[in-house]
Every structure is written in C-alpha cells, then in structure tokens.
Amino acid sequence: MNKYFILILLIIFSQFSFTQEKTKIDLKYFFGDMRARHIGPALMSGRINDLENHPSNPRIIYAGTAGGGVWKSNDAGTTFNPIFDEYCQSIGAVSLDPNNPDKIIYVGTGETWTRNSVSIGDGLYKSTDGGNNWEKIGFEKSERISNIIINPSNSNEIYVGVLGALWSDSKERGVYKSIDGGVSWKKILYVNESTGCADLAIDPENPLVLYASMWEHRRTAWSFESGGKNSALYKSNDGGQSWKKIHKGFPKGNLGRLAISVAPSKTNILYTVIEAEKDSEKGLYRSEDHGESWNQLNNDFEITVRPFYFSKIVVDPKDHDVVVKAGLYGSISRDGGKTFKNLGNMHADIHDILFDIFDSDRMYFGTDGGVYRSWNGGVTCEITENLPLSQFYHISVDDEEPYNVYGGLQDNGSWYGPSSAIGGVRARHWKSIGPGDGFRVLKHPKKNIIYSEMQGAENVWRFDVDKSLIKTIEPLPEIGYPKLRFNWNTPMEISSFYPDRFYIGSQFLHKSEDMGDTWEIISPDLTTNDPRKQMQEDSGGLSADNSGAENHTTIFTIDESPLDPKIIWIGTDDGNIQLSRDGGKKWRDVTPKNKNLPKNTWVYHIEASYHNPGVAYAVFDGHTSGDMTPYAYKTDDYGKTWKNIIDKNEVTGFVRNIQEDYVNPNLLFLGTEFGLYITVDGGNKWTRFTNNMPPVAVHFIDLQKKTNDLVMGTHGRGVIIIDDISPLREIELTTLNKKLHFFQGKKTVMADKSDFVGSFGGETRFVGESSSSSAKIKYFLPKRHTFGKMTLEIQDSQGKIITSLNPGKSKGINIVDWGFTIRQPKVAKGKTLSRGGFTSPRVKEGTYNVIIKKGRDIFENKIELVYDSITGLSKIEREKKHAITMKLYDMTQELAYLVYELDLIISKLPPKSKVLKSLQELKETLVITKGDNYVGSVESQLREKMADLYSKVAESWDVPSNSELNNYEVIKKRFKQAKKTFEKLKSKVSIKDFSIDSYEKFLSK
C-alpha cells in the first residue's frame, strides 16, 4: 500500500514539476513599449569615484560614478551623456588608451571608496569603438578595480590594480598585467586574501617603473578594519616582474590605506599619503628619488581624514609642487606639500581631482554630490547640473495627482518632488525635507505632514508643510531600558489603518499614536543582541571611524499588514524575522530555518501580502558577509514555513526589496544590486527589466495604487519609474498564444491642467521625463509586425472614423498614445502661416472604438474617455464648448475650401478680366497675401481671426467667454458676407472645363 502511495506521489510530483517547468514565462521578449523613465533629481547629484580626461582634447571628460555608471562630456562638463547603461553601474576606474583615446576605453567596475553603502562591481570592460559597444574582459569576481594603466608606449601592455572583495577574503586581488591588450592576464603582485591594490602608478617617462599601494582591510556589517602588517608600498623597476617595498622614511608599525602619485612633470618626485599607527606619523610624505626614500611633510586634518574614503593625491601635470589632496573639503598645496589650504566651497567629500590638460587653473572635482568645475585653480567651484546620480536609500509615494516621490539619499539629505510635471521634472520642483544622510521619508496619509530622518535616527523630523514647523520626534532612552540601538538606515512605518500611528525600530519596536509626540515600546529586544556586534567604538582600524554607519543588531524593516493592523512583521539586520499577531503584545521568532539561507543574514525587507494575511515575502541580503546570493522567501502560514522563490541562476545580485502587485498575487518585483527583476508566475521565472533601466542597485520599490506606476529608489540613478505596470497582470500563457490581445484599461480622464513651464536653464540642467496623460491603447503581439500593412483607427460610437494613429509593432506589450484629438483643421492657403491653425480639437467624452487592422485580421476594442472634474463644468457647458469649437473648426475648413476654389478661378481667368480684380480684392480680406511669418507680418484677415478664435476656444478648459461669443458672431457675419460676395462674383465667371475637387476630397488631401 505504502509503496503504491509513494509511487503515485512520485508520478504526481514528477508531472507537477514538469508542468511547472513548462509554465515558466520568460518576459525578456515581451516588455515591448514598457519603458522606464528617469526623473532624477540631479540637483544634488551623487558620488563620483573617478574622473578621467582625454590626452589631447581638453573638452572630453569621463566621470566614473559610485553607482550611476560612466558619463562622458564633450563640452568640458557642461553636459554629460551616459555611455555604460547596459552594465554594472558601480565604477572603480575609467581609462583611455593614450595611443587611441577616441576608440579604446577601459572601465573597471566596483567603487573603491569603501563606505558601508558601497556597491559592488563585476569585472573589467573594454570598448574599441569609443563606448558604443562593450565587452567584459575578465575579473568577474574582482568586486572592485582601483586602477587601469595602459603603457603609453605600448597599448597592448595593461596594468590593472584590483582592490578586491571588501566583505570577505578573496584571491582575485593585487596587480595584474596583460601583454596582449586584455586577452590574457597574469597576476604580478599578490600579498594575501585580505590585501588588495588600493592605488597604482606608473612612471610616465619610464613605463617599466610601477608603484603599487597594497591595503589590508575588511568590512563587516558591524565593523571596519583598515590596516595591518600587510599594507605596504611597493615598487617594480622591471614592468612588474619583481617588486620591493619602498619604506625608507616610513612610520614604524602597521600601515593602512596609502595613496601614491608620481609628479608627471618631474617623475623623480612622488607623493604618498600614509595611514599609520601614530597620529603624529600619519600624513603626506614626499620622495625626490623615485620612491627610494621619504620625508613626512604634513599631517593636517584634511590630509589624514578617513583614509578609506579620501586616500587620493593628484599632482598638477605641469608643476610638481602643486598637489591636491582629496578629503572632507579637499585641499591644495603650492609649495610641494609643505602647507595646504582648503579648496573652494563645493559639496563635501572630494574623491578625485582632474586638471585640464592645457590650463591647470581649470579643474574638476568628483564629490559625494557630483562633478564640480573650477576656472580659477579651485578657488570657486560650480556644480555641473545634469548628472542624475542621486543615491536613494528608500522612497515612498503619496496619493496626490501627480503623486509625489519622497526619499533620502547618501550624504545628500531627504527630498520630495513630483513624479511628473508639465515640461518635465526640474531641479526647482524638488524640496528639501532634511539634512545629513537621508533615508526613509513618509507622508502622513491624511495631513500635510512629512516625516524624515537622518543617520541612526539622530533626528527624526515631523514637518508641518503648511505652517513650516519642524519638530524632532525620535524616541529617546527611557528608564528601565538599555541604550537604544538604531540602524544607520532606521526603519519607520505609518499604519495604513490609523493615520496618526507611527512606528520606529531600534532593537525594540516603538509605537506612537500621536504622530511621534509620545512613544511606547511594544516589543522586547527583537534582535540577537550579540555583544560582539556592538563594538562600534573600536571600529575603523588604524583610524577610528565610528560614524554610526556600522551600528548593528537593530531592527531594519517593519511592515504592518495592509489587511490587519494587529499583524506586524519585523526584520532585523542580524537575521531575525519576528511576528506579532496581536498588535505587539506577543512576539514569535519566525526566522526561516531553510538550509540554504545562512544564519544571521540581514533581513532587508518584509512585504506583507495584500491578498492574504498569512502571506508575506522576505528578502535577505548577505553581501556584508561576502555572500552575494539573491534570497527571497515566501510564507503562506504566518512564517511557520518559508519557501524559496528565486532560482539563483536567473537573478544576478543580492536582493534588497520585493514588491507584490495589489491585483495579481503572482506578479512580483524584485530590487537587486543589478537592477529590477519581474516575475508573472510567482517566482517561477524571473526576468531582468531592461527598457531604459540600467542594472543599477535598486534599494526600494513602491507601487502607486492609483496609477499602477512602479517607482524605484535607485542608489545611483535617482528615481526611476515604470508607468502603469497593469499589462503585466494579464501576461499568462493564454495571452502569449493570441494573435493580438487587448489589455484592459481604465477610463482615461482628459486632463485639463496646464502650467507655465519656465524652461530656462533646461539646456544644461537635467530635466526628468514626465508621464504622458494621453489615453493609452495597450495590446500584446506574439510576434513583431514587420511585413505588410498595420493600421490603428479610432471610431466614434456611430462607427465613424475620427482619427488614425501609428500602431506599435513590437513583439510583446505595445502602448499607443492618443491625445484625445482629431487632426487639426485644414486651413486656407495664404502667404503666411496662421498660428491658430495648428490646434487639434479634443473629442467629447464617451466610448470610442479602437480598430486595429493587421493583414486580413481586424481587432476591436473600446476605450473610454471622461472629462476632467477639476474644471467644475457641467455636461451642458461641455457640450456648448465642444459645439462652438467644432463650428469654428468647420468654418475654418469651409473658408479653406472657399479660398481653394477662389484661387482656382483666379488662375483660370485672363489677366485683364474685370472679375479678377474683384476676386483678388475679396481674397485680400480672407487671407494674408503679403509679409512673412515673423516681424514682417501684416494685418490679420478673416482666416487669422477665425483660426485664432478657434484655437483660443479649443485650447481653453472653460466655456467660451461672452467676449469670445461676441467675437464669434463678428467672424460668422463676416464669413457669411464673404461667401455671399464670392457667390455673386462666381456667377459672373464662366470658365470652360472647370474641374474642382469636392469638399470631401479637398479635406482628405
């Protein structure tokens, strides 16, 4: 019996898994017209890792950014374009082949300023066509590449400095060399699994001479260790075959991160910045004998500050005594490093400096807030305004129309701005809502109140937007409780049932019922409370670094179920998931015990389901222990059991966020270190979304309920939105097999809102793309339409064709915009163009038929348009406005036909004909027959007056005013008179074989 049972089970199971395999839907080919749009912001930009210039064209500048890819400027930083959008966006180094700088570019991925929030790289890339196409040429597991140096006298000889893994041991570090242009590589300097190459330099006069700074370092989620006995500065005199330490004059004891720079104009002079055990021995050292011996010159704050973040020196290519040091503010020496003064005002945290190749007073700075440019040697600096590199930790949205996006940024405070604006989302649309590092920013659901915070909940602010009142409300230590431990990125949550209820997590869950005025702790310590992970005071290694960024054993995510406020899920940075089903009275540890999930893996986000109170999703991020595996789990029994929903071969990059669709529970969105992944079958198959979506780190995802827009907070490319993801809800096997499938659409409001754009500055400032308010015709094609005719027509409810649109032809999802208009009226031919004649009138609200003809097939669907209620117009008023608009539209076309007929008659008449003169006189009152389209214009005639009134009425949201109605009567009368005169004159003319197009034919041309 048992045997049979097992057999049957096996059969069922094998069939089940077979069907499962078969039902996988790979979305790769189906995204079609679904496209991400980027709204920035760029006003605070984001962190820059490496700046690079062209060896002969001073206008060409490259910026390798911490999390936003590679950008190229052709105009000395005035504007930039991204050139690396299909690849890893975290950049360590960009280098051009000095012998072929327009074609050959190398990009080493993985940022090298190793702060807690740093992203990871995935290898070295090469382009041989100036950045159009890229090929990965190795170092897959390098995580961070610090330098790429091409031998100036032999382009095939390349040296690569690999800093390597930050969070774990790794053998893929050190200095590598290729002698065949990057085809093969040899490791030429290696110390051990925890020591990588932090900086590499070559002697430009003798390319056999190399200098390499090797740095022993390690980060964990709760500590940072810079320095050790293996950190050292090495030199090779033979192109990397042999190396020796060059420490004569160096401090004794362990060393940390060292920077190295050779003065290009006098290569015996070298500078290094040394992180050492004793503060008095840290600082800038100079060598005048090719590194054989060193002297300490300076240990000012700016020279020694945070070596892991600022260990970089750049020497003026023309003057060996001008030295610039990266730092909190950055500093410059003009006496060979003896004394320094700070650089001019710009965003703090300077990571790289670039001198113009011809004029050293022109400088560029890569900071935590974008690229700055100076024309006067760093005295005054200006930000370049079109690098949208903002690094969000978190975002949220509200319910306004258009909705706003709220979020906090690495080192750039907290902000909110509109998801869309007429004329584009501009810098001025963004409003600051907090300084410092910004994280979660939440809008009160009912009141005009915004909560924001800075690092470690040092401040949590409640901002009354209407009254401009700021109050700090973070929970403070209380009697009977230990010290509160807040994460760098402290979780905050608003109840979706009680708008004034507000949660904050330390190691405890804090709840307030009055918007943060009073707090109650409603949980025990929900973390592991492991004391070994609480020694942040000792963090930093040779240089103490206790910024709060390493605070650990804290709550990281809070989610109150959208179905029941008593169900609260908690995730901690040390791997716990805790659940309360009674509003915080009792807590149960429901951490998954799955064997593939390592213990204590950071719970990055919990998503309580919108469909079932027992269902939740949890994503785990192990990268801070060197584990880059994507983890996403689902429970459907309140956390008793968890099921893995990721095939790790399908998803690249560790996971930070998951979003469930509100309608289709099988539609899920995953934010990873390398972009956005989507599944339509509950995780059976994940596909990376690529339409205008770089593989940037997606830190947080939200789905706006009214618009179904997917809003992503990325750590390097600002806010990225995919408008209306609802078509994905209908992608299932049956959809894929249809000849054409229309997706459901909501009623479209014909928006009447408009605004003055004020587009000043848009030439050089980033302008975010807005959403379109057009009606959308959405359908699925199983195959791209390439051969034969395909048309899309809109019919009114009587079946009359009112306009045709250009149908989308893409395989997968097609989205066609219709701006609710029919084509502009045919306007009488004159000498000049009538401005009013370029207005297309809107149709009335109602249901319209969409007819797609494709070969012999005809597909029909309906689309519903409704008026915008914002205007307050009644149905009768709408009818009136539409009637007059169309009367003027028709009148304009009738006049066009009259002038056409009149022109035709004039052309047939003999020059001396009596009627000719009268006809010409008539024409001069109908259309402009002289002048030009600019300031040579002449007095308007009937056509201009009519078309101007038409466009005024058509473009207004309101019913025509009395003044417009009176004007309408004037024009109507004048047209009536003109027609009468024309008929009279026509009766005096007789032309043989006179042929003329009918009115209908004339209009159709």
Partner: protein
C-alpha cells in the same frame, strides 16, 4: 522640428552597410528578400508621400531622393509646400520658416551631404567599393525580436572643423533579413553623444521592391515621432531646376 525632419529624411535614405562573410550574407539576403540586387541597382529615384504625426498634428511631407545625391524634403503646412531641405548634389538649402526665403546650409553640412551622393538606394549598396566597412557585432534582441547587429563605418564627416567617424548600427531581423532599426551616435549639436534611433516596419511591395512604410524616429529610450508613408513612386521625373538654389 525642421532639424529633426531633416535628420530623419537623411537617415531614411542612407540606410544600409558591412564586412566579413557573414555580414555580406546578411546584406545579400536583405537585397534578395526585398526585390533583388539588380532591381535595386536599376532604381533611379524615389518619391514618397508621407505623414508625420505628432500629438494630433498631422503634417504631410514629400520626400524625394535621386540616384547621385539630389534630394528634397517638402513639408506641407496650410496648403503651402515648403521646401524644408533641398540638395542638388552640390548645394544644400532650405526655406527659412520666418522669412520664407531660401537659405543655404552651412558648408560643413553640405560637404557631409556630398559624401552621401553615392549612397543610393542605401549605404550598403556596393559598400566595399565605396571604402566603407561593415562588421557583424553579434545578435541582439530588438523589439522582442532577434536581430543581427551590424556596424557600418563610412568615410569620416567633418563636424565643427574636426573629423568624426561616421558610424551607424543596423538591426536586421534574423528571420527575414530586413532592417528593423537603425541607431546612430549623434555627433553634433547639443544632443552630441546621444543615440538617434529609427525603427522600421510595414514593409510593403512597390513594383517588386520592398520598402518600410512605417517608421519612428527619436532619441533612443525617449518618446519617438512616427512617420507613415502613404505612397512611393519609383523613378519619378523631377525637373532639375526644382533642386537648384533659387538665386534672387
């Protein structure tokens, strides 16, 4: 607007190119599948009547391209035919919309246009003898469709006094070998460095040759402008004087 139409039209005609054996096979297949190379070589000119459709604004245009480089783009506004861009093989000119008078293009634009005099019916025709090179970059998915991505390099253009490579990427449908998209790096003006993209569909036959009757044009990853071709006339007879710059 005028600029974008010009660009569209220039790209529209100077479409195709490549090296390596497999590239040549793709191009051969393309010609074979669209009417045969001999028939393409016999072609002396095309005239297209088309409509640009931009947010409800329908603009009729007329595009003429002759073997040898003569070309004309006429925009129709309010009954007026406006020669937006004309080239007689030597002089490039167009009507200024403000003054309504003809004006010559800058010399660099004209010189760059001259380089394309031998690109009829498209750049791939006899590309090797023209000194162009074509390279198969690989396969890429475009519009959900598998394509061959081919890079065509023509003679360098001069932009603001400097020589710039003239590189275009073509995406040939692997199933039927017709191009469904073209991408070009913009080398001048404020959009320099961005990628211009044209997509093509609705290939239909005209007297034995296949042309894409529907196209879109724009900056890659941004909204595009559709162009629908109503009719195509082969070997049209156009008065030579129509192409000449009207002196006085």
């Amino acid at each position: 607007m005028k600029k974008s139409i010009q660009f569209l039209i220039i790209l529209l005609f100077f479409a195709l190119n490549s090296y390596s054996q497999s590239v040549d096979e793709i191009i051969e297949n393309y010609y074979e599948n669209t009417g045969g190379i001999d028939k393409w070589k016999e072609l002396k000119g095309v005239k297209m009547l088309a409509k640009l459709n931009q947010q409800g604004m329908e603009i009729p245009i007329e595009l003429i391209q002759m073997k040898g480089g003569k070309s004309m783009q006429i925009i129709n506004f309010q009954g007026q035919s406006i020669k937006a861009q004309v080239f007689d093989g030597e002089v490039s000119w167009g009507i200024n919309m403000m003054s309504q008078q003809p004006e010559k293009s800058d010399q660099e634009t004209t010189d760059n246009l001259k380089l394309e005099n031998n690109d009829f019916p498209d750049s791939f025709m006899d590309y090797k003898s023209k000194g162009y090179s074509a390279e198969l970059i690989g396969k890429e998915t475009f519009d959900g469709t598998e394509t061959f991505k081919i890079k065509l390099t023509k003679e360098p253009k001069t932009i603001d006094g400097k020589k710039e490579d003239d590189i275009t990427f073509y995406f040939f449908d692997t199933e039927n070998y017709v191009p469904i998209a073209i991408q070009t790096m913009i080398t001048q003006g404020p959009s320099k460095g961005m990628t211009m993209e044209i997509t093509m569909s609705d290939y239909q036959e005209v007297e034995g040759l296949y042309f894409p009757f529907s196209q879109t044009q724009g900056i890659k990853d941004q909204p595009s402008l559709p162009l629908i071709i109503d009719s195509i006339e082969l070997n049209p007879i156009i008065d030579e004087n129509e192409f000449k710059f009207p002196e006085n």
